[in-house]
Amino acid sequence: MEKLSGEKNGADTKAADVLISVRNLHVRYAQREILHGINLEAHSGETVVILGGSGSGKSTLLRTMVGLEKPSGGEIWIAGKNLAVISAPDLKEIRKKMGMSFQGGALFGSMTVGENVALPLREHTKLEESTIEIMVRLKLEHVGLLGYESYMPSQLSGGMKKRAAVARALAMDPAILFFDEPSAGLDPIIAAGIDNLILQLKKAFHMTIIVVTHELASAFLIADRMILIDKGYVVAAGTPENMRDCTQPRVRQFLDRVAEPEVAGEMDYLQMLTEGTSNTEGTVEDKRGA
């Protein structure tokens, strides 16, 4: 597996141009800055995994990359356009080539699963209704939800909603896919299925895929490139091999899934305690604008 992704990566950097380039990105909600200068690059056909603890700003990064949040500084280049200053029609065109599956699914509660998946097709293509039906079934089959077309989202389990959301993101066969924790809360077999799907999409359709995840095994399986975010800063970035070999304490801690006191030497422990305090401040700030 390692070898395979190594080869792929090598081939990509030579052949393909940079499709997504995030440069010194700052994002704030009201007064509070969440991302402090993120850099990230994705070549076309690559799978980039964004790792990071809860609340580190992964979802915020993804939302900014699809143009839902305006950056307070920096640039996001996608397919030659800078989302920080893009015009509405240009953004619309770019978005037709992007698919996004949200952390909470974000399925339309008033439509069936089938209608959810069909919506982008109905809106943006002039396909026959019968063709759309077939495509919907195809996408649902990809995520193992064939036969659930006529269910309402409220009738699905959490994991099924997530998979339906993935199917909807795939509907338009986008060139770029954004997944916010596609396999969190899924059982291991289904989660492995999502991993396979991602590998398949990359291989068969040469899709560029950005995945936010907590699942380390899955991350190393699918990633060509990884970045680890902590409290809005990029702590480390590189190929999975780079990450594995990285000796930086924060990275080791995350990758080895070590509970904090166990890694702590005396100095680390002190450092952890001080970071602990800033964490607490963070949580106080979290009670923003209720």
Binding site: V66, G67, R95, M100, G104
Partner: protein
């Protein structure tokens, strides 16, 4: 001085709010009237299902309320008219108050409670569950997709409901006329029609269209402006209802004054 400054701030923010509503209404109007010529069909299916909810769904309760309002109006005006032995003017009094004022107003207030609040709650929930964001990432304009059908439904259904409300109010008055003022049903209706000019009805209907625009704009705006968290949906729903009622009364005042000074009233 401070009070003056505060009033100034309030007025500024009030005007800004109305500006936002106008912008939303303008965009919806664009998608309704200009969109079709640019190859994006009007969302008829969605508009019709909205119209069913806004219009047909409101009929039973609206009928009941306006029937009783008509009856109450008849009783109240009879109380005064009886002193002059002019009970036969009850029909005219009821017909005029219903068509010019109470028909449109009662209908609007009922529709605010049923549909304006529902718009805010529906769109607000979609905001909280990131469904609005999902629409945007799919390159679907939420105003086009969600707001435009509601405008269309409201602009068509509110005048229809108002006509119905006028009729039910007159019927309520007739019940009094027939049972307590020596009218027959036919004579009461004739007396009502004699008292009405066409413009009494049309000014009421023009107002009702403006009410429809106001209610939709406020409901949808509040929905779209919902913050994060489920409790925000409740808050924006309440705001939508309160602000709609206030603005409907303001619009009523403006148009009534306009008609008055234009000599149509």
């Amino acid at each position: 001085m401070e009070i003056a400054a505060q009033i100034g701030d309030e007025v500024t923010s009030g005007l800004a709010y109305i500006g936002e509503l106008a912008a939303l209404g303008w965009r919806a109007a664009y998608f309704t009237f200009v969109g079709p010529f640019r190859g994006r069909p009007i969302r008829f299916r969605s508009a019709i299902s909205q119209a069913m909810q806004v219009g047909v769904g409101a009929l039973p309760i609206l009928s009941l309320i306006t029937f009783f309002i008509g009856l109450i109006l008849a009783l109240q005006s009879a109380y005064e008219l009886r002193k002059f032995g002019a009970l036969n003017y009850v029909a005219g009094a009821v017909a005029l108050s219903m068509t010019r004022e109470l028909g449109p107003l009662i209908t609007a207030i009922l529709v605010i409670g049923r549909s304006g609040s529902a718009f805010a709650a529906e769109i607000g929930t979609m905001r909280v569950t990131e469904e609005i964001d999902a629409l945007e990432t799919m390159a679907i304009d939420p105003v086009d997709f969600l707001v435009t059908p509601k405008f269309l439904a409201m602009i068509v259904m509110l005048p229809c409901l108002t006509i119905w409300a006028n009729a039910m109010g007159i019927l309520g008055g007739a019940l009094f006329g027939v049972s307590a003022a020596n009218f027959t049903w036919g004579r009461y209706l004739q007396a009502s029609l004699d008292a009405l000019y066409l413009r009494d009805i049309t000014t009421g209907l023009i107002k009702s269209v403006m009410f429809g625009i106001t209610i939709t704009a406020v409901g949808c705006y509040e929905g779209l402006a919902t913050g994060a968290g489920p409790e925000e949906v409740g808050r924006s729903t309440t705001r939508a209802v309160v602000i709609s009622i206030f603005l409907v009364v303001m619009v009523d005042l403006v148009f009534t004054a306009l008609f008055f000074f234009l000599g149509n009233g």
